[in-house]
Symmetry: C2
Subunit: 204 residues, 2 copies
């Protein structure tokens, strides 16, 4: 009997199964992954560095969609570079909103993701930021991006008062907003605000 | 046989059971709640307006911890009122980070929560905001608050490079940040930025 041309189990397939579980339920367990792949739980552990290792594989998979190019484009002003990175980062996480709490609350160890933070930190240091200001700016950007990625996954109509006469001013604001571009306007406002505030730190 | 002095099942107990499930796993199902309470699934449905009704009970429970006072303090400038509300809102959700994706992606119908948005919309309209600008400001604030609430639930050490020589600039920025107040500085930066940007809309 020849060996099968594809291994029954590999890190790619484990990551795909874990992401399917997370997209569905916001969580995964190693036995659930094993069940999904039709193998023993112990076989899964054989391929990965424990449960935490699977979280990092998930992080790499979700973050593959983030374009790091703006962070390494020497001619680009740091404001534009950070904004472009943030937009791409937001789109990547908006595709997997249920993964957000899991990934946002476990430490980043995935080398290819750390590399993006290395580029962002280098960009801000090169722009003249005090080292103590760099992480607050990056984390502030993380906050805006992840909060907004969740909003992109929200229903079109987010506020549904049973009786609009009880909340007339909210009704007025909702009617005036229009449907188009709701999450985008809020995100761009928060992003612009953060970058302006960061510029303030730089000039202080 | 007399009736028990407390009903076996009421909305408070259903809400508590649902929140325990969500805090643990980020999700709940009606059969899981029934199992937790030792009753039939149908009995749970008898007390609530379906699964969506339970989501709204959860929202009310989490949002009970938000202090709406700043939104109805006539002497307070709108900037301070919104910032104080945002800080209280962030603390309430940081206590239940796994509830964030569930609540952020289902429409708000809970009357007591809609009331807070009514106050916020009224505050901004009274401050002179164009009606079309009110929701983008409120949603931008939501984004910053929810992203930061997730960050409050993150581990102290969020970036763990295996080899710091590969990410020297990130290491420099992390070392300079110090441990204390990491999430707070980022949140205040993003919050200040959003409010300044909103002020810009008001003056435009």
């Amino acid at each position: 009997m020849g060996r099968p041309s594809k291994p029954l189990l590999d890190r790619e397939r484990i990551t795909t199964a874990a992401l399917q579980l997370v997209d569905e339920k916001g969580e995964f367990s190693v036995p659930q992954i094993a069940k999904k792949l039709g193998v023993q739980t112990a076989s899964v552990y054989h391929h990965v560095d424990g449960r935490d290792g699977i979280v990092e594989l998930l992080r790499e998979r979700v973050c593959e969609a983030i374009d790091p190019t703006p962070l390494k484009s020497p001619g680009l002003p740091w404001e534009e570079a950070m904004a472009a990175w943030a937009r791409s980062y937001r789109a990547a996480f908006a595709a997997h909103p249920k993964a957000i709490p899991l990934l946002a609350t476990s430490p980043v160890r995935a080398p290819r993701v750390l590399e993006q933070y290395e580029l962002a930190a280098g960009l801000l240091l090169d722009a003249g930021f005090a080292p103590a200001d760099v992480m607050p700016v990056i984390i502030g950007l993380d906050n805006v991006v992840l909060g907004s990625a969740l909003d992109l996954a929200a229903p079109e109509t987010m506020w549904e008062p049973a009786d609009e006469t009880v909340t007339p001013r909210l009704a007025e604001a909702l009617a005036a907003m229009g449907a188009a571009g709701r999450p985008d306007r809020a995100f761009e406002l928060a992003l612009r605000g953060l970058i302006a505030e960061a510029r303030g730190l730089l000039l202080a």
